[in-house]
């Protein structure tokens, strides 16, 4: 903008000048209306998302049951967490779940995306069917799978019987409860990542494949030397958001096993929920939330860089 006041130029020689917001120039008017349009978002994201982030740290230094006055106890909550077998277990369970779900999703979703990147009959209709698990909510699917896992009249158990496994009790056995959860989550989670991959595949220019064909590259060579390398940023994005998503999973554990049997499916988000809202240990649950944040920080930073990179172009 051309409009600059002399005083601000004197104050700051290096930075580009910013006109006064109260001026009559176009730049000043744009500034005022920019602020006006943005104002609700400042308040909203500030109050409901950014402030709570800091408040989590603050509350984690207190002992507080909501019913009494918060009592400052320093890092005691963190010390207690480090000695809490339930907490250590829940961190392990979260990693088990996240790795089990994510690795399968990365591969299956990519395979499906490669399939849907071809042209074949009824492609669009098939895409809708394959996407169906993602359309319906996790709550509904959790109940359907709870039903399917029922030992006496569930479809999954019946299928297992047909395969020759008698008396399959997926949700009652500490060894199989988590695999049951993982299977449900892979089934529900894959379609979304399939779509993300597919969007990435669509963005690869067709010329590359044409050129490779002219040079006599086989389909497998084209996949290995063109598709996969060009898909790397998409893959990175999928890895990061799938891990962040998997760590937050709560609904299936809450509805199918409530963290059990024993603590076999008590993931970190379940631990936070139970300590915070069932045992009313606000400070303790907040300390667990801080650890939860730290675990995901690495992935969040990568996601942040991807989004930042995008908003620059």
């Amino acid at each position: 903008m051309a409009d600059t006041s002399a005083s601000s130029r004197r104050r700051n020689q290096t930075k580009p000048d910013r006109p006064s917001i109260f001026g009559r120039s176009l730049a000043a008017r744009k500034m005022r209306f920019g602020l006006l349009f943005a104002a609700p978002a400042f308040v909203f994201f500030g109050v409901f998302y950014v402030y709570p982030l800091f408040r989590t740290f603050y509350v984690s230094l207190f002992s507080w049951s909501l019913l009494d006055e918060p009592r400052f106890i320093g890092i005691t909550n963190y010390v207690n967490l480090s000695n809490d077998k339930e907490f250590i277990n829940s961190v392990g369970v979260s990693f088990y779940y996240a790795i089990g779900v994510c690795v399968a999703i990365w591969v299956i979703a990519l395979a499906l995306a490669l399939m849907f990147n071809q042209t074949f009959r009824f492609r669009q209709a098939y895409l809708s069917v394959y996407y169906l698990p993602a359309v319906i909510s996790l709550t509904v699917w959790s109940l359907v799978w709870l039903f399917m896992y029922n030992p006496s009249f569930g479809l999954f158990s019946e299928f297992a019987r047909w395969l020759g496994f008698a008396n399959v009790r997926m949700l009652d056995n500490p060894q199989t409860a988590m695999p049951a959860m993982i299977l449900l989550s892979i089934w529900k989670g894959t379609p979304v990542y399939m779509l993300i991959y597919l969007a990435g595949l669509r963005a690869i220019p067709g010329d590359y494949y044409e050129a490779a064909k002219v040079d006599g590259a086989s389909a497998l060579q084209r996949l290995w030397h063109i598709t996969l390398p060009l898909l790397r940023p998409v893959f990175l994005y999928v890895v990061v958001i799938s891990i962040i998503g998997a760590f937050q999973a709560f609904t299936p554990m809450y509805l199918l096993t409530n963290g059990g049997p024993g603590s076999a499916t008590r993931v970190l988000s379940m631990f936070i929920f139970q300590n915070g809202f069932q045992f009313l240990k606000m400070g303790y649950a907040s300390a667990a939330s801080v650890i939860f944040l730290l675990i995901l920080l690495v992935f969040s930073v990568v996601q942040f860089r991807i989004l930042r990179f995008q908003q620059q172009d």
């Binding site: 943005a38 998302y49 039903f147």
Partner: protein
């Protein structure tokens, strides 16, 4: 075998593979609908039944008359409707300011938005609940709606779309002497209409499915949305699978209908949600 025959065979194999995959994927959904129409004899038959012996609609009548699913459905529509409306009002405005204006604090706001996308919701659950509680919003509609009034991803999405609107259109409005509000409502909003529909779909689905927050913030039966209502039903009647499945069909139907009505845009929206172009 000739090359052509080989190719036909391969394509046939691939086609049946795709079909088989589609069938396996739809089994749980079909089973849900089928079980919701079963009577208790079908359920406790010696052999697990795939299809009901007759179309037994009593389960649907029961979830609405004996149980509170009518009320849950109403609450789900109220909450989701309000969330979608608020998002449609606010996120394009904010996206517009981030795309086309330069104002003090813009970088801070962008940081706020990106931070909100990144913050795992679970990590702020407790302080967010404390804030809502201090507002006196526990077990009220505002408590269910307001934390989702603006989707950070929605803002990001809108900003990306509005960046593509040529500055010339906006400047032409200014030259003609239109006010900034008029430029926004009469030039920018009509140009981003497809994006607004995408936004509405994405927010509708997310809001309809929200479970954890609704579980925490509703303390009684009166304000429960369908996901929470279903969950509480299961806690009490863990063996009434036929009713559970009827309730599940009720909860799933609106989103499935929306999906069937606008499949292409739905899929585009969900791909767009990833934040990738």
């Amino acid at each position: 075998m000739s090359r052509k025959a080989q190719r036909t065979l391969l394509s046939l194999l691939a086609q049946s593979g795709i079909l088989a995959g589609a069938l396996v994927i739809s089994v749980p959904a079909l089973y849900m609908v089928s079980a919701s129409l079963m009577n208790s004899q079908d359920f406790f038959a010696a052999q697990v039944k795939l299809l009901p012996s007759s179309l037994y609609l009593q389960n649907y009548i029961e979830v609405f008359s004996v149980f509170n699913f009518g009320n849950y459905l109403k609450n789900s529509f109220i909450v989701t409707g309000a969330v979608v409306l608020l998002n449609l009002i606010f996120t394009p405005m904010v996206g517009y300011s981030l795309a086309k204006f330069d104002f003090p604090g813009k970088t801070v706001l962008l940081l706020f938005v990106l931070a909100t996308i990144m913050i795992p919701f679970t990590a702020i659950l407790i302080p967010l609940f404390l804030i809502i509680r201090s507002f006196g919003w526990v077990n009220t509609y505002p408590g269910l709606v307001i934390p989702f009034a603006m989707s950070a991803f929605g803002v990001f999405l809108m900003r990306q779309f509005i960046l593509a609107v040529p500055d010339d259109y906006i400047d032409a409005g200014r030259i003609d002497g239109a006010s900034e509000l008029r430029i926004y409502f009469q030039i920018v909003v009509p140009l981003i209409q497809p994006a607004l529909i995408t936004l509405a779909i994405v927010v509708f689905v997310a809001s309809w499915d929200e479970f954890l927050w609704m579980l925490i913030v509703t303390t009684g039966d009166a304000l429960r949305t369908l996901p929470v209502g279903l969950a509480k039903f299961v806690e009490q009647y863990r063996t009434r699978y036929e009713l559970m499945m009827a309730g599940s069909v009720v909860a799933a139907a609106p989103v499935v209908l929306l999906f069937l009505a606008v499949q292409r845009r739905f899929l585009q929206g969900m791909a767009g949600l990833s934040g990738l172009k």
